[in-house]
Symmetry: C2
Subunit: 300 residues, 2 copies
Amino acid sequence: MPLTKGILDNPNAERIRRVADLAKTKARRKSGRFLIEAPQAVREAVELRPEIVQDLYIEIDEDGNTASARAAEIASTVFSDESGDRSRIYVHYVTERVMAAISGDAQGIAAVASSEGMIGRLVDMDPGRLQHDADAPLTIAAFWQVRDPGNAGTVIRTADAAGASAVVFVDDCVDPLSPKVIRSTAGSLFHIPVLRASVADLLTWNRKHDGEVLAADVRGTESLTPVPLPRLLAKGQTESHSVRSILFGNEARGLDEAILEDCDGIVSIPIYGKAESLNLATSAAVLLYSLAMSSHMRTM
Amino acid sequence: MPLTKGILDNPNAERIRRVADLAKTKARRKSGRFLIEAPQAVREAVELRPEIVQDLYIEIDEDGNTASARAAEIASTVFSDESGDRSRIYVHYVTERVMAAISGDAQGIAAVASSEGMIGRLVDMDPGRLQHDADAPLTIAAFWQVRDPGNAGTVIRTADAAGASAVVFVDDCVDPLSPKVIRSTAGSLFHIPVLRASVADLLTWNRKHDGEVLAADVRGTESLTPVPLPRLLAKGQTESHSVRSILFGNEARGLDEAILEDCDGIVSIPIYGKAESLNLATSAAVLLYSLAMSSHMRTM
């Protein structure tokens, strides 16, 4: 039986301040915990990664009822799980002002979870352990120095939807456990492994596992001309490799020339109109989805 | 010769307050003018729609130099155009604190432009006047009740890049002339016509011009089952029609069932992973781009 505590009504309580502090990178790093806001993400965490969830904070209204119906549903999955992983989750009921102190984006429910095992290292990952669709090569969506939390979350969600096997954040990226990133993933952080790597790690890991690294870039370098995406799709892509990693660059700077030179190829998205470029999230959506659909169509 | 005024140093001046006010829908509607911020968008407006640009505000630093090199370049295109449309643009030099009062996102340059003719009505549009690539059917990207300014701008940019001929905002959408929308278009607002329509207008206009309206939706209705996008791509789409409009729904609610029932077909984007759905900007990117690439590949 999960443990229930009384109703918390003091927004200045030490415990509540510690939870709210998890919005900050430093507090997350120090405590080894992170904050999950709102029904969609909390539900996915409780369902798919119950072992990391430590506390649930559920808002109750003035009449003592759960403020959000979706929050009540999540609580009931915790209470009905009498012997599983969910049975050790603490459920705290909190007043509106306490929830406001925890987060402005909780929509009635928030959770605190352990960061342990959430963000692994690519070099430790055995490709055989990654889920992947037999119709398509194992695809890794890699992002170099992604800095905007909204972008980071959106690309994790897109990679998940497109059936990629993992997302890799390369070099110095935004913390994938920041609340804003998690909100933008719409639950996908708990569906797909998110890993860290250096550029060298990414290249070495792919070579070791018969993979290739394709950089998404419009310009290319003196020695590497980009292949337009439609041509790549028409010629049956790279399905001779069992692993395929697509590497996207930073929002403002793209990929450094030295990184491009080290990749196995460059793929560019054509611009049919007058726009100068596409933003990162759009590029990732077009590239990851068209490669995925192309693989699935070939086997239809 | 364009007119230059002295350096403006009073952030509380009536003129400056009126410019800053253009961040608000009401002030834009009342004055018939709108605000364009930052070098990229201002450059595209001055280059492609000089007839609507009325005033340029350029920040100078303490030494009296233009604060941004890109702003200086834009000013020089205005000053060198002695008899054209650009010659009647007023150039105002302003101090840092005046620019800060105008906008926090100007990056050294802002413009005020007339809204007249910026957002037309679809029903007045002759498809023969729309630019379009001979390789693909004339494509219209239509958005029903898009509410988030960042989304609205991003989908205009994506539609432009994918070679769509126009963007249509259907029913009650965010104002496409809000500064946040314009920033997110990255200049595309000045590349591609943005029009308004009701749902009925959109359907009627398409029928009149041998067009069809495809709704983007995952669920469909009792009588209309969505065609998965890969199947649509595989079977050569709908190129029997000379006009194709893709209608996307609201960020949170999608499209109402009654609207879906009135469309000529529904197309769904497959989810290969565990994500529940894609967000609006991602859906638009995947759909518009894969249709565009498919048309171009067929004629390669």
